[in-house]
């Protein structure tokens, strides 16, 4: 790709190279975008609450959370459409306070795309370059380059209303990328696309990001989108960040009950630690009195109240009692949801009034008759490392 910004080294997108990209773990790395103690209130509502965050050059960063969690406000403050009540936002060390949106080194792809309906595709893409006062030939060259980048060659003369939803999304992307912003902001970039198109576009977006080496910050309420695209995800709730981590850490090692519940499916069981050693902890649940064994977490002692979070696919379901299992519970199949790739079982554990466990079983054969049926007595089992212990 021509015209790469020189400052960012080409990296990731290829297997193990991607895994090596972790500037957040390197204390010497300099962040590109920093939020320091940023607070924003609308009337009596605190949208963003004393939030601190660092985003690194070349990162694909996702702000994930339910609506009203403050993620959109955070992005709009970065773009300059909202002003923080307190705190500091900086890009490349430059404080953004008092800098209007039209002088910020960010560009945004809007959720509605916000394509100018009275301009052609070319004029839409050229709009930002014209504001910079670039020479005509340079603008034409860049527009052509952008059209090629998003694979819309030949559609430059069309109006936005003559394009399909997917094409409009690409024009919006090309327009936001045309000025080569230091940070590209994406507001629910795939939200308006149907499922098939969304999947294809998702991979294109990832390729584009690593190809251009730009820093992307995305706002989304869709966890699949965040998991698939982002290097790191910030899960937000109530104007604060619940956890910032790579997708696999968010999923396998959620920091709070909120994160565990918001990202993916989870079984939550509350209990008290009855025994703790170097090798394991034992938890007794209330009121059912079930005993669960888990890996010992640091800083939790007998008597501490904990929540055990257990992902449905980590649990095995069998008719026969598994002799070797560390954790095993007898139960009865309450409900079966066939999802094609997976079947989700709801299993009632410990008789009438006991908790329902969700268990996901991959459908690895094409057999339609399943050995597990409604009301079957079954055993659930899982390893000690499968349960995540959360305080409280």
């Amino acid at each position: 790709m021509a015209g790469l910004p020189p400052s960012v080294p080409p990296r990731k997108s290829l297997g193990n190279i991607r895994r090596a990209f972790a500037p957040w773990a390197n204390p010497a790395a300099r962040p590109l975008v920093t939020f320091e103690g940023v607070t924003k209130r609308f009337g009596g509502v605190t949208a963003v609450d004393d939030l601190t965050l660092a985003i690194y050059p070349g990162e694909f960063f996702a702000l994930l959370g339910p609506s009203g969690c403050g993620k959109t406000t955070l992005m709009r403050m970065l773009a300059g459409f909202e002003t923080p009540d307190s705190g500091r936002i900086a890009i490349d060390g430059q404080d953004l306070a008092g800098i209007p949106p039209y002088r910020r080194p960010t560009n945004m792809m809007f959720q509605s795309y916000a394509l100018f309906p009275h301009m052609s595709v070319e004029d839409n893409i050229a709009y930002g370059l014209r504001q910079e006062g670039q020479p005509r030939t340079e603008i034409a060259r860049r527009v052509a380059e952008m059209l090629a980048l998003v694979k819309l060659e030949g559609l430059g003369r069309r109006r936005p209303d003559q394009l399909s939803g997917g094409q409009r999304q690409r024009v919006a992307l090309a327009r936001a990328l045309a000025k080569r912003p230091k940070v590209l902001l994406l507001d629910e970039p795939l939200g308006a696309l149907d499922r098939k198109l969304r999947e294809a576009t998702q991979y294109e977006l990832m390729d584009l990001q690593s190809e251009l080496g730009l820093t992307f910050v995305m706002v989304t309420h869709d966890q699949d989108e965040a998991m698939a695209l982002a290097d790191r995800i910030a899960v937000m709730s109530g104007g604060r960040i619940a956890q910032v981590a790579p997708p696999e850490v968010i999923y396998e090692n959620p920091a709070t009950r909120f994160v565990a519940e918001f990202v993916g499916d989870v079984n939550l069981v509350e209990g008290t630690i009855t025994e703790a050693s170097e090798a394991f902890v034992s938890i007794r649940t209330a009121p059912e009195g079930l005993v669960i064994i888990a890996d010992p977490p640091p800083g939790l002692h007998p008597g501490a109240a904990v929540t055990v979070a257990l992902r449905p696919e980590k649990v095995a379901i069998t008719h026969a009692e598994p002799p070797q299992a560390v954790n095993k519970l007898a139960g009865e199949i309450w409900d079966i949801g066939y999802l094609g790739d997976f079947t989700m079982f709801q299993v009632k554990v410990g008789g009438e009034g006991g908790p329902l466990f969700k268990v996901a079983l991959a459908n690895r054969t094409r057999r339609v008759e399943r050995p597990l049926a409604w009301d079957d007595r079954v055993w659930l089992s899982w390893d000690a490392e499968a349960g995540i212990l959360l305080a409280g």
């Binding site: 945004m108 916000a114 209303d161």
Partner: protein, 262 residues
């Protein structure tokens, strides 16, 4: 709706007849060859010819057009500014007052508006004539222009202006390159509406004009006090045609606005 049933048809014809029969009669009699208004003497364009030779009527017509064009332009300008303030500036001090003040002339009896303007002009020592009528018509029509432009602005996606800013356009250039082109149909509709309101107005013009500045509706009104002549019918027909044309244009523009933009 699959076709009209008899009762519907009767109601429709009666309703339309009630609204338009008088106008239809007027238009028909403008083509009357007879000098007597109430007797049909065959088809003729005679009175249109006579109209063209009636210098006083022609003068009044041109004056009305000039007043209407100028007052409509000023009203559209002021109305646009007011609409932008009301729609885009959020909750500023005095917003409620501005909103009310803009809408008040809509419900104000024209006699009151005319009288108060007359008192103002007399008090200010302004010589009454073309300019006072024009100013009075701006007062009358600005509220209509504001409402039309306001509707267009409200219907416009705010993120379009944000996108323009985000791409590096300072506020005035955002307005010139994005906001203005997109609300232009609203501006045109507002102008046409203000134009027809001004062209039609008799009451306020009567209060605020002076010697030597007689608008067409005033000329027609004073002429029929001396007895209706088919010449006035012809003048009225032309006025009706003009107003109808402008209204059709306005509604076509408005309709195009409402079409989905993708």
């Amino acid at each position: 709706m699959n076709g009209l049933r008899a009762p519907h048809l009767v109601a429709l014809v009666a309703g339309l007849g009630f609204l338009y029969l008088p106008i239809l009669v007027l238009v028909l009699y403008s083509f009357n060859a007879s000098r007597l208004v109430t007797v049909w003497g065959g088809f003729s364009l005679h009175w249109y010819g006579a109209l063209l030779r009636n210098a006083a009527l022609i003068d009044a017509f041109w004056l009305s057009l000039r007043v209407a064009a100028l007052s409509a332009s000023l009203a559209t300008l002021l109305g646009t500014l007011a609409a932008i303030a009301l729609v885009r500036f959020g909750r500023f001090t005095g917003r409620g007052l501005l909103s009310g003040a803009v809408a008040a002339p809509l419900v104000m009896p024209e006699v009151i508006t005319g009288l108060s303007l007359l008192l103002l002009f007399v008090g200010a020592g302004l010589e009454r004539g073309f300019w006072t009528v024009t100013i009075a018509h701006v007062t009358l029509t600005t509220c209509f222009a504001t409402i039309v432009v306001q509707a267009r602005l409200v219907g416009m996606d705010r993120s379009l202006e944000e996108a323009a800013q985000d791409l590096g356009a300072p506020p005035w250039r955002v307005f010139a390159s994005v906001t203005l082109p997109l609300i232009l149909p609203g501006l045109a509709a507002a102008w046409l509406l203000a134009f027809t309101l001004s062209l039609d107005d008799l009451v306020i013009a009567s209060f605020t004009t002076g010697p030597g500045a007689t608008t067409l509706p005033m000329r027609i009104y004073s002429a029929i006090r001396l007895g209706v002549t088919p010449e006035i019918n012809a003048a009225s027909t032309i006025l009706i045609a003009l107003v109808a044309l402008v209204l059709v244009a306005a509604s076509l523009i408005a309709k195009r606005n409402l079409l989905p933009r993708g």
